[in-house]
């Protein structure tokens, strides 16, 4: 079975047809893959290299924690991949959403609809865990929606601001 994976902007085509063998971008490796009793932990021997990773499906990505580092891996089987290609959906979709990373209270909203922002600009100040936290624009673009206001209490993952890459995309983004 073929899988299309993407992590940190790197793509890997992975074929899994045998229990003890894997092909990655055309190169074949001997493997021994085990899921462990501790929730989410896995052990992989690949050409006798040993790797332990914690793997959890979270939303539409697989999170892999390995040697202290966290990787978000998008995994698609052939069918999903082809469908996505046909639809023209890029893996960047949703990249303009600013969501609340935790519950809290909005202290300030330094942007308004129509503002042009650059990646890294402050768009929301959220108080939580006794600290003021700055939420920043995930990309260059135009503020197309502001869904909150100072003083509002927000839940985790609540959508606060939407930034579109170009003005023409506004409709499309909202539909998604």
């Amino acid at each position: 079975m073929k899988y299309y994976t993407q992590v940190n902007n790197q793509d890997f085509e992975i074929d899994i047809d045998h229990e003890d063998e894997i092909t990655v971008n055309g190169e074949t490796y001997t493997i021994d893959f085990q899921t462990l009793a501790e929730a989410g932990l896995t052990s992989l021997l690949i050409n006798n290299r040993s790797l332990e990773g914690a793997v959890e499906e979270r939303g539409d990505v697989w999170e892999v924690l390995m040697l202290g580092k966290l990787y978000a891996v998008k995994v698609q089987d052939e069918r999903s991949y082809r469908l996505a290609q046909a639809r023209g959906v890029t893996t960047e979709s949703g990249g303009g959403d600013v969501k609340a990373p935790m519950p809290g209270m909005i202290i300030a909203v330094p942007v308004s609809v129509g503002d042009v922002v650059q990646k890294g600009d402050k768009v929301i100040i959220l108080e939580s865990m006794k600290m003021e936290n700055e939420l920043r624009a995930p990309r260059d673009g135009v503020v197309v929606q502001v869904r909150t206001e100072p003083g509002a209490s927000v839940e985790k993952d609540q959508l606060l601001v939407v930034i579109s890459e170009e003005k023409g995309e506004i409709e499309l983004e909202v539909e998604e």
């Binding site: 994976t5 892999v64 202290g68 999903s80 809290g104």
Partner: protein
């Protein structure tokens, strides 16, 4: 023995811990090692927390917000009386530096494991603290009086010069504090500091202080008994901070030699004696590049980073706090205190270093702590523990000890690699990159290093994208195989898949 200034010392065999998390666990352990019975308190959010399970007794004190539970003095006094606890240890944070609470304990004939109320009050008022220690001959940083209005402060700022700091009189731990580099930013900074201080401490009085650049934050740990003996237990290097939150602490410091240690220690003892201090406390200093040191503030409580001092001195500070509070004399003179080896502490927080260090809430699903030689973990979390917005985001303290700084750094590197925490994001990658960085290894850092000269992109260690992709693909494949044995292949149904993933875990 009860003193005028609110110091009560007497024997006790049952103690209430007015705190939660890792520090509650730390105090519980010290009590159990001394044969003292323990009483825990918990908010509705903490019923299943380790400190509740580990104590001999536990009492609910209200809803999750600290203001309705851990900060309600009368509830704590009432539980102490009801349970028969003759002493209260406040830990750090919450009520630890509230003179009123220390006094309330004494008024109810309960030993407060800490300094006298009067000492807390003086040192808690940053301005009075500065005046008091100045009179005792302790060098201080130039700044303004408190209680000025915004306009007066703006005027005074020019005399002090930039950069400077806006600081809340009631502040601590970086809250209600703002650095200002240009005159035009001052009004906003004063407003922000007032707002934060009001929210955190119910008091918006602020003042200005000169900012010492290229400064190191170095503090001296003190121990004092109620018989007039005060000693210092060497220094802690706490320069690695972000937004005035300490991230890595170590002892000894790279830049402190025997002579500087003795001079700072003696000044710190003088500062404590100026307020008739008792129990454990810390004098924080700024040390500039010419090794001049200035009094910053006194923390009149146990500190988060106390373990590094415990490891290099071999003295259990929390046990000493309990002994001193029982009225015993210190078991050490200054000459008995020797430093051996090196210790480093990394604070492991639930936050995302790749996303502006935003706190990460959620439920911790898996925890495996590093063990083996030279590794100590102080933690209060466990699988099933929920990181909520109600309390701070610290998960644990990972402390390593060894013969030399080099050995400890390498040990920390392997301990960070061993640590497994799933369910929330943590700042372990930050620590990993930091302990590999040239500047950390060579001790070339000051308090502004993390914010101004450090980046997560500096990572020159290996990354393992291909291996991560393989693990994810194999996990997805294995989940798919299970699914296909159960449900007919077809349109992917997410809820069903999730159930199957759990079901698979169950079957292992």
């Amino acid at each position: 023995m009860k003193r005028e200034d609110g110091l009560l010392t007497q024997k006790f065999d049952k103690l209430l811990i007015a705190n939660r998390g890792e520090i509650a666990m730390r105090i519980l352990r010290a009590c159990h090692e001394l044969g003292i019975q323990t009483v825990a308190v918990y908010s509705d959010a903490d019923r299943n927390a380790p400190h509740v399970r580990y104590a001999n007794e536990a009492y609910n004190i209200g809803p999750a917000p600290a203001r309705e539970s851990y900060l309600v003095m009368d509830k704590l006094i009432e539980v102490a009386k009801r349970s028969g606890a003759q002493a209260i240890h406040p830990g750090y944070g919450f009520l630890a530096e509230r003179a009123e609470f220390a006094q309330k304990c004494v008024d109810n004939d309960i030993v407060f494991v800490g300094p006298p109320a009067r000492a807390i009050a003086i040192m808690g008022d940053k301005q009075e603290a500065r005046q008091t220690v100045k009179a005792a001959g302790v060098p201080i940083v130039p700044g303004t009086e408190p209680g000025l209005n915004d306009e007066e402060m703006v005027a005074a700022a020019d005399n002090i010069g930039y950069p400077l700091l806006v600081k809340a009189v009631a502040g601590g731990g970086g809250k209600g504090m703002r650095p200002v580099h240009r005159a035009e930013d001052l009004p906003d900074a004063i407003a922000a500091a007032r707002r934060e201080a009001l929210a955190a401490f119910g008091d918006d009085v602020v003042y200005l202080e000169k900012m010492i650049t290229e400064a190191r934050h170095i503090e001296i740990q003190l121990l004092a008994d109620s018989h007039g003996n005060t000693i210092y237990l060497g220094e802690r290097e706490c320069s690695l901070q972000r937004r005035h939150q300490k991230l890595i602490e170590e002892s000894p410091s790279f830049v402190v030699d025997e002579d500087l240690r003795r001079r700072m220690g003696e000044v710190a003892v003088a500062a404590a004696e100026a307020v008739h201090y008792a129990n454990a406390g810390t004098i924080e200093f700024l040390v500039d590049k010419d090794k001049n040191f200035y009094f910053l503030e006194m923390n009149t409580r146990l500190q988060v980073e106390h373990p590094v001092t415990e490891l290099v001195t071999g003295i259990d500070i929390v046990q000493e706090m309990l002994r001193v509070a029982r009225g015993r004399k210190l078991r050490f003179t200054q000459e008995d205190v020797t430093l051996k080896g090196w210790a480093i502490e990394c604070r492991i927080n639930a936050e995302d270093p790749y996303n502006n260090y935003l706190p990460s809430t959620g439920t911790i699903t898996t925890v495996r702590v590093p063990t083996g030689p030279g590794v100590r973990v102080d933690t209060g979390v466990f699988p099933g523990y929920e990181i909520t917005p109600f309390y701070d985001s610290m998960i644990s303290k990972l402390i390593c000890y060894g013969e030399t700084r080099g050995e400890v750094v390498l040990r920390m590197r392997r301990a960070l690699q061993e640590y497994r925490i799933m369910g929330v994001k943590t700042n372990i990658p930050f620590h990993q990159i930091m302990v590999e960085s040239h500047r950390f290894l060579t001790g070339q850092f000051d308090t502004s290093f993390v914010e101004t000269r450090f980046s997560m992109d500096e990572d020159d260690g290996e990354t393992h994208e291909m291996e991560a992709a393989i693990l994810a693909a194999l996990a997805a494949h294995k989940q798919g195989l299970h699914a296909s044995q159960i449900v007919a292949p077809g349109e992917r149904d997410t809820s069903n898949w999730k159930w199957l993933s759990r079901w698979e875990r169950l079957r292992r």
